[in-house]
């Protein structure tokens, strides 16, 4: 069982009468020559790593290798619930977790790339926040990760997830699309609604450049992971309400890829432009 596009994926879901996660799991078994149990076990291990990488820095902040970030997750977590906090519930938690994963990553901790290390905070950020707030069982979140995997696979297959090729829209943008789709399935939405959410998420991040200060996966990467999780929440909520989108996910992937190829080299992970070239950033990195 295999699919090459979002259109084919939706056709399979309709034919087999099952969720996107189930189609992706069956695909892994047939095309990846593995058993259902092993695939689920491996994904459950990914969830454990995600949770640990999202929890650590909330309690004990760590300075990043490059020294540009560290402590943000703890600060945001302490701020949540205070009178001055304006982003509560799922959003607040998703932000904390997203920041935390990037802090773990930047301090040489263990993370799960999803789809890349630089965008590793988005998917666990939103899914773990939903799990906390809705008391969802681990099994449901593991399934949701297969859904996210299906969306990311289409991006890898038909576009790109490399910042050096397509900019940050290909990393955090795709991660946001993955998280949005997975969240919709987790909340009982249809496969169509999942990919509508993925399309919305990608649309909103179209054109985002990759401009890491000092060439390091730290700043503004960490902020953008929180933004990617928030954007996924916006996209998922809209899709769950029944709002449809003009542009199907396949076309949005083509669009993102075409835009990515037109982003100048300076703004594709080379640290020669964007935030990386701002005077204050150059001052911190000694050039």
């Amino acid at each position: 069982m295999d699919f090459k596009s979002a259109k084919e994926l939706l056709e399979l879901c309709a034919r087999e009468n099952c969720a996107i996660s189930e189609i992706m799991l069956r695909r892994e078994c047939t095309e990846g020559e593995t058993s259902r149990e092993d695939a689920i076990k491996r994904m459950a291990r990914a969830l454990v790593i995600m949770r640990e990488s999202a929890a650590g820095p909330v309690y004990s902040p760590v300075r990043s290798m490059g020294g540009l970030i560290g402590g943000a997750a703890k600060k945001l977590s302490g701020h949540a619930g205070s009178p001055g906090s304006i982003a509560g519930g799922v959003l607040g938690r998703a932000m904390v977790y997203s920041l935390a994963v990037l802090e773990t990553n930047a301090s040489m901790g263990l993370i799960v790339a999803a789809p890349t290390a630089g965008s590793a905070g988005v998917v666990p950020g939103l899914l773990l926040a939903l799990q906390d707030c809705r008391s969802l069982p681990d099994g449901a979140v593991v399934s949701a990760l297969f859904n996210a995997g299906a969306v990311g696979y289409l991006a890898m297959r038909n576009a790109t997830v490399a910042g050096a090729v397509g900019g940050c829209q290909a990393e955090v943008g795709v991660a946001s699309a993955m998280a949005a789709s997975a969240a919709v399935e987790l909340m009982g939405g249809t496969p169509e609604q999942c990919l509508t959410a993925a399309s919305t998420a990608l649309t909103n991040m179209l054109g985002l450049v990759c401009d890491p200060v000092g060439g390091l996966v730290e700043y503004p990467c960490q902020n953008r992971n929180a933004a990617g999780a928030a954007n996924a929440l916006v996209a998922a909520e809209m899709a769950l309400s029944g709002i449809s989108q003009l542009i199907p996910f396949d076309e949005m992937l083509d669009t993102m890829y075409a835009v990515g190829r037109r982003i100048p080299l300076e703004l594709r992970e080379t640290a020669l432009g964007g935030c990386a070239a701002a005077p204050s950033a150059c001052a911190r990195c000694g050039g």
């Binding site: 892994e28 994904m43 290798m65 301090s107 790339a113 996210a148 995997g149």
Partner: protein, 222 residues
């Protein structure tokens, strides 16, 4: 197009911060450490391109040294690999090279020495997402990824050696996925690199070594 697994998307599980600069570097060095008899007592790394510019902030140096000691990309000991190498009595150095630009942006040359005084030099390129390519062994241009079970035969460039290799493999039921031959120059040292889908059967090295023109056999399992 090769198969994209769900774990290529939700994965790899890795020590951060970068799949190309950290995980990929670790994989290159891990492959390299299988190409010399243990124990390694010295490893010298020359870094090119983006590796040379950003290796400290990406922990590329720690990941390379970890790989030399056999650590996987998800091994938390990578963070402390400098201290662990010192404890194990492994000398190491890192030299950025910014003058040579005619290389892949994330390239490293690794020179290893073992306790017997043998040396080996390996060049690797980190291609992104933790994927890598070994592009040179002891000055000879090669090309393989380490994603498959790989056997590297070091031989003299003379008639009959390749036939010997394929006969040994076919006698033991090995299905060859890719096979390539590289050489220094005519009649000198040559490398036959065979990649297979499944693991090689145990004890495959001995019959390969039975040919007098075969000098060494290295087996890399993913």
């Amino acid at each position: 197009m090769s198969f994209i697994s769900v774990f290529d998307v939700i994965g790899p599980n890795m020590i951060g911060p970068s799949s190309s600069h950290t995980a990929g570097a670790c994989v290159i060095a891990f492959l390299a450490h299988r190409m010399i008899a243990p124990p390694i007592v010295r490893a010298d790394f020359t870094l090119y391109g983006s590796f040379a510019k950003t290796y400290r902030g990406h922990g590329t140096d720690r990941a390379l040294l970890g790989g030399i000691m056999g650590f996987g990309t998800d091994d938390i000991r990578i963070r402390d690999s400098f201290d662990i190498a010192k404890e194990r009595g492994i000398a190491f150095s890192f030299t950025p090279c910014l003058t040579e630009t005619d290389v892949h942006p994330n390239t490293v040359d690794i020179r290893m020495e073992n306790s017997a005084g043998d040396t080996a030099e390996v060049r690797g390129e980190s291609l992104g997402g933790g994927k890598v390519r070994i592009s040179r062994i002891n000055g000879v241009t090669v090309d393989f990824t380490g994603e498959y079970s790989t056997v590297i035969v070091v031989q003299q460039d003379t008639p009959g050696v390749v036939a010997h290799i394929t006969r040994v493999l076919s006698d033991r039921g090995v299905n060859i996925a890719f096979m390539r031959l590289y050489r220094e120059s005519k009649g000198r040292t040559a490398y036959t690199i065979v990649e297979s889908d499944g693991r090689f059967p145990d004890g495959i090295a001995e019959p390969l070594l039975s040919n007098p023109h075969v000098r060494d056999v290295m087996i890399l399992e993913p």
